[in-house]
């Protein structure tokens, strides 16, 4: 199943912050059912996009050698719905990183307007624990996420190129 909830990284600074955009087309499957006649993006999917933007920061901190799982969302709040036709900007910063895992703070904006924020804790887990938690020992950094990393790295190179020019 396709499970990427961001369209593009706009910036990526290893160990510090990542920013990505998600465009909401009315053609997205979820709008058909959520809600009929009032297409709004389900908040858990917004959190997933935010987690993908921030999770890659945690994975990157150890060169993707450790299994990273979204362990807990300690805080999350939304000011309003995200509507079809809008473009969401996910901004994440790495607050704390240790052997245990990483803590990421994230905000969701439509243009300049903040519409949501969350604090997400990612944990490093060993193969045994991963199996226990998810039923799979190859769950986290799949091919799709590696592609996302490529996008992130490509985005990271941009400021250097423009700086040199």
């Amino acid at each position: 199943m396709r499970w990427i909830w961001i369209d593009r990284f706009v910036s990526f600074e290893s160990g510090k912050s990542a920013m990505a955009v998600k465009n909401l087309s009315l053609a997205e499957d979820f709008f058909a059912d959520h809600m009929p006649g009032y297409p709004v993006m389900p908040a858990p999917l917004i959190l997933e996009g935010l987690a993908q933007t921030g999770g890659i920061l945690v994975g990157d901190a150890n060169n993707f050698t450790k299994n990273v799982v979204l362990a807990k969302i300690g805080k999350a709040s939304f000011k309003r719905d995200a509507l079809a036709g809008e473009s969401l900007t996910y901004t994440t910063t790495l607050l704390q990183m240790s052997e245990v895992g990483g803590l990421v703070a994230g905000t969701v904006h439509v243009g300049d307007e903040p519409i949501g924020e969350a604090e997400i804790f990612f944990a490093h887990v060993g193969p045994e624990q991963l199996k226990e938690l998810t039923g799979s020992d190859n769950f986290v950094f799949t091919g799709n996420l590696q592609k996302m990393l490529g996008l992130a790295k490509a985005a990271a190179k941009k400021p250097e190129a423009s700086g040199a020019a």
Binding site: A71, K72, S98, V100, G101, A123, V125, E128
Partner: protein, 134 residues
């Protein structure tokens, strides 16, 4: 920092991590039985304590994972053997084993993970940090 100061900070950390009320947290509270901690919460607690007290907590030092790995020398018929007890003492030097020793069942191990265990661990960690800095 006094033991009471450490307790207050640990309690505040647990209130945040486990979404429990402040008055639920006492020195004797067990993390799993009384405060409802799940496996991922243990990682979250360690992580928060590191931030709160500006210390590093190596994996398995505060909350050792799968202590016995089903080793028959350590556990026999659901009971922890004498050898197992000394292993437990070595791996969890901050745990209060006095009650556990009277009835050392495998299930009873989870009750060793108490607020008191965390406070004692942090206390010793801060003391050794202060010594290293001196």
């Amino acid at each position: 920092m006094t033991r009471d100061d450490i307790f207050k900070k640990v309690a505040a950390t647990l209130v945040e991590a486990l979404n429990v009320d402040e008055d639920q947290v006492t020195m004797a509270s067990t993390l799993q039985g009384d405060l409802g901690a799940e496996s991922i919460d243990f990682l979250d607690i360690v992580f928060r304590l590191e931030r709160e007290f500006s210390i590093k907590i190596p994996r398995n030092e505060l909350f050792p994972e799968s202590i016995f790995q089903g080793d028959p020398d350590f556990v026999k018929d659901g009971k922890v053997t004498a050898k197992g007890l000394s292993e437990l003492k070595a791996k969890m030097p901050y745990a209060d084993l006095s009650a556990f020793e009277k009835n050392p069942t495998l299930e009873g191990i989870s009750d060793l993970f108490t607020v008191n265990l965390i406070v004692s661990y942090i206390e010793s960690k801060l003391a050794s940090g202060a010594k290293a800095a001196a």
